[in-house]
């Protein structure tokens, strides 16, 4: 059955991820587990190599390994998780997919799988050691670019199915506000469709013809700008599913209501507006772009502080009101009342804590002047490991804790719950240590994307090594955490079946019965504003890249 869930029954206990949709979700999640193991192992090796404590056998290169790590974790793991979780969220909150919608999901899944395998083969054969950002004019094998395009287009199919599912609910229950989780997934999906257009055009019309030898040169500035128009939105594409869990799932785990439906929707809409017209903050120190446009995009970047503050407020408002309901008094007593023994809460909560230094680091990076100091140092790597590598990933883990048994008809046993706690604490310790060391080394000037080197015996390089060793210690803890994670996830799917499946927690909101702010669900308005901001931020810089006669660049294979 693929009926829409009636607006009055959105919080009925019978709502669950449909069995057929569940298979699709599970297929995506199995890639997540696999990617975690491969990518995480690569990460650990990188920390040892960078510290000068290990050398790769069989002629494998450091940058080959780093390409694998970036692609497998930043793209493959996240894409499969996001598709899987969003499909589950829609099925749970709006109702089961119909055959056509689900078929689109499967087509997407198979395209993403095929793309991943081909990209992996190219990396394995050392044809594509260009890192996951594939900056021209380093030139990989054409199949690598084709594979990446197929992965992205695969996500479009899956997203199309999800959007159809959402709009089918909306059509039947015109005038009702859509289920919050389904709305959030749709915002993320629309943002994704808009931000991937540029990078796909770049791959299809620039990289593929150039790597096939059909054209000789490539416009480097243009390719980088189109990449980062996607590259920054990508980080919000990772993050918004974590926010879905923070806003909607976590309050239910506490056994309470979410803070505000309206606030949650509003913050998602602001993320939609301000995720895309800001990519140039990754290009602040590069030629080819006028200072004015860099400055404008810096200002737009800071706009996301507003929804971030809204999110932080509403989360802690939920925690505090909940604690007080349980009898907490004084200023911070409520903190003790939180469910510290429940992995479904602890995992995302640890993630939220990481987001405090993570957000501060983001403000530093985006400030033009400070960016100058940290750009392309290992500080940046430290930064994204305490954003995507901790808040996002830990929240994904927290979701998998209940989603895997929910779909496979099992429950989280006490023992598995404890494993989840160990996973959270080990990961937090390892990532905390590794990232802190990266931040400090970066402030002392250590470059990112760099294998072990003594830099001709320079004194400063000697200092960097100490921090590298700390990173290797962190990397070791992270590897332990990954082993725990893999065993845990497999057990969550294969343990003894139970009569009742684990719940997929969905909270109602304190203002559940209040209608939404007027234009928040008016998709035409939302898309117009999104595209309008995009055009303001990018029309001129991109036009200049075409009109200023910048000489094109031939390809190089320097690895």
């Amino acid at each position: 059955m693929s009926k829409n869930i009636h607006p009055d029954h959105l919080f009925s206990l019978n709502n669950r991820v449909d069995a057929k949709d569940g298979k699709l979700v599970l297929a995506n999640m199995i890639w997540v587990i696999f990617a975690l193991f491969i990518g995480g192992s690569a990460g650990m090796l990188q920390t040892f190599i960078r510290a000068g404590m290990f050398e790769l056998p069989f002629g494998i290169g450091y940058y080959q390994l780093l390409t694998l790590h970036g692609v497998i974790l930043a793209l493959v793991l996240t894409f499969f998780f996001i598709m899987g979780f969003q499909i589950a969220s829609l099925s749970r909150s709006a109702g089961a997919f119909n055959d056509k919608e689900r078929l689109l999901g499967w087509i997407g899944f198979w395209m993403m799988s095929a793309g991943t395998l081909v990209a992996a083969a190219m990396i394995a054969t050392n044809e594509a050691s260009v890192l996951y950002t594939f900056y021209a004019p380093l030139q990989a094998h054409a199949f690598y670019y084709i594979a990446l395009a197929v992965i992205i287009i695969g996500t479009w199919f899956s997203v199309a199915g999800q959007l159809m599912r959402y709009f089918r609910w909306r059509k039947e229950y015109k005038g009702h506000k859509t289920p919050l989780l389904s709305f959030m997934a749709s915002v993320n999906n629309v943002m994704w469709l808009v931000c991937t257009i540029g990078v796909s055009m770049s791959v299809i019309f620039q990289y593929i013809p150039w790597s096939l030898g059909i054209v000789e040169t490539i416009n480097v500035s243009l390719s980088r700008t189109l990449f980062w128009m996607f590259g920054h939105a990508l980080v919000y594409f990772w993050l918004l599913p974590a926010y879905m869990s923070w806003y909607v799932v976590v309050p239910k785990v506490l056994g309470t209501k979410g803070f505000s439906d309206n606030l949650a929707r509003m913050s998602f809409v602001l993320f939609l507006f301000f995720s895309i017209p800001v990519g140039i903050h990754h290009q602040l120190t590069e030629p080819g772009i006028d200072a004015f446009w860099k400055g404008l995009q810096v200002v737009l970047t800071f706009a996301v502080i507003v929804p971030s503050l809204m999110t932080a407020f509403s989360l802690f408002a939920v925690f505090e009101t909940h604690g007080r309901k349980l009898g907490a008094t004084g200023i911070l007593d409520w903190f003790k009342k939180l469910p510290w023994k429940d992995a479904r809460f602890v995992l995302p909560f640890l993630g939220m804590l990481f987001f405090i230094p993570g957000g501060i680091g983001g403000i530093i990076n985006a400030s033009g002047q400070m960016n100058q100091l940290v750009h392309n140092t290992i500080w940046v790597v430290g930064h994204f490991h305490i954003t995507v590598g901790a808040p996002v990933i830990l929240t994904y883990f927290g979701v998998m804790m209940f989603l895997l048994p929910h779909i496979t008809g099992r429950k989280i046993t006490k023992q598995l719950n404890n494993m989840g706690l160990y996973l959270g604490y080990t990961w937090t310790f390892g990532m905390g240590l590794m990232s802190a060391a990266m931040h400090f080394a970066g402030l002392r000037g250590a470059p990112r994307r760099s294998t072990f080197s003594e830099y001709g015996g320079a004194d400063i390089a000697q200092e960097w090594i100490t921090y590298q060793i700390l990173q290797a210690v962190g990397g070791t803890f992270l590897f332990v955490a990954i082993v725990i994670a893999v065993i845990l996830f497999i057990q969550l799917m294969t343990g003894p079946k139970t009569t009742e499946a684990e719940e997929f927690p969905v909270a109602s909101m304190m203002d559940q019965s209040v209608p939404t702010t007027k234009w928040v669900e008016n998709w035409r308005v939302l898309i117009i504003i999104t595209v309008f901001l995009l055009l303001i931020a990018y029309t001129m810089p991109i036009t200049q890249m075409f009109t200023e006669n910048i000489p094109g660049a031939k390809g190089f294979k320097l690895w």
């Binding site: 940058y63 900056y135 004019p137 380093l138 480097v220 500035s221 980088r224 606030l263 290009q283 602040l284 120190t285 590069e286 030629p287 080819g288 772009i289 006028d290 200072a291 860099k294 400055g295 810096v298 200002v299 800071f302 502080i305 507003v306 503050l309 407020f313 408002a317 403000i363 400030s367 033009g368 002047q369 960016n371 100058q372 100091l373 750009h375 392309n376 140092t377 000037g445 470059p447 990112r448 994307r449 760099s450 294998t451 072990f452 080197s453 830099y455 001709g456 320079a458 400063i460 390089a461 200049q544 200023e548 006669n549 910048i550 000489p551 094109g552 660049a553 031939k554 190089f556 320097l558």
Partner: protein, 164 residues
């Protein structure tokens, strides 16, 4: 909106605005605009034939605003010159161009840090006020020899009399 929410959001948005004003004033008034901005083209295949980069290194500047022009050529996997001496206190216009792929020109322990892309010249204006040896690295992946790309700037005593 809840009262606390109002306070929280106003304090947050208020500090955001103050912060942006500081950034803006620093950029416009103190000249701290992003490095390498703007478009100055160069053919990557003929960098060494170009008058600007024919002899990389330190040259007296004809421009009032600077004492010297410092030219670096970046190519996989080295910088030219591989060492340069600069008199303390010099006002220098640093320009870098690449003959092949993208490189990241970073002078450790200074504010000089910019991308170098084929087809474009990257420029940064700075003063070398502190005597010492500064390591230059490449901080954008450019191939197997990426970490071999180094050079040194030696800021040396004296010679700064003429910049009053």
């Amino acid at each position: 909106m809840h009262k606390f929410e109002k306070i929280w959001m106003s304090v947050g948005t208020g500090s955001l605005i103050i912060f942006l004003v500081i950034l803006g004033v620093s950029a416009v008034h103190a000249g701290h605009t992003p490095a390498a901005s703007g478009i100055e083209t160069i053919n990557p295949e003929y960098v060494r034939e170009d008058t600007r980069f024919a002899e990389p290194g330190l040259h007296e500047s004809e421009d009032e605003e600077f004492d010297y022009n410092l030219y670096f050529v970046a190519s996989a996997f080295s910088y030219e010159p591989s060492e340069v001496e600069i008199p303390q206190g010099s006002r220098v216009k640093v320009q870098v161009a690449t003959t092949d792929v993208v490189h990241g020109f970073q002078v450790v322990n200074t504010n000089i840090n910019m991308m170098v892309e084929p087809g474009l010249v990257s420029t940064y204006n700075t003063n070398f006020d502190t005597v010492g040896e500064y390591l230059i690295v490449c901080n954008e992946y450019c191939g197997v020899g990426h970490t071999d790309m180094t050079s040194t700037i030696k800021v040396v005593d004296g010679g700064a009399e003429d910049n009053e």
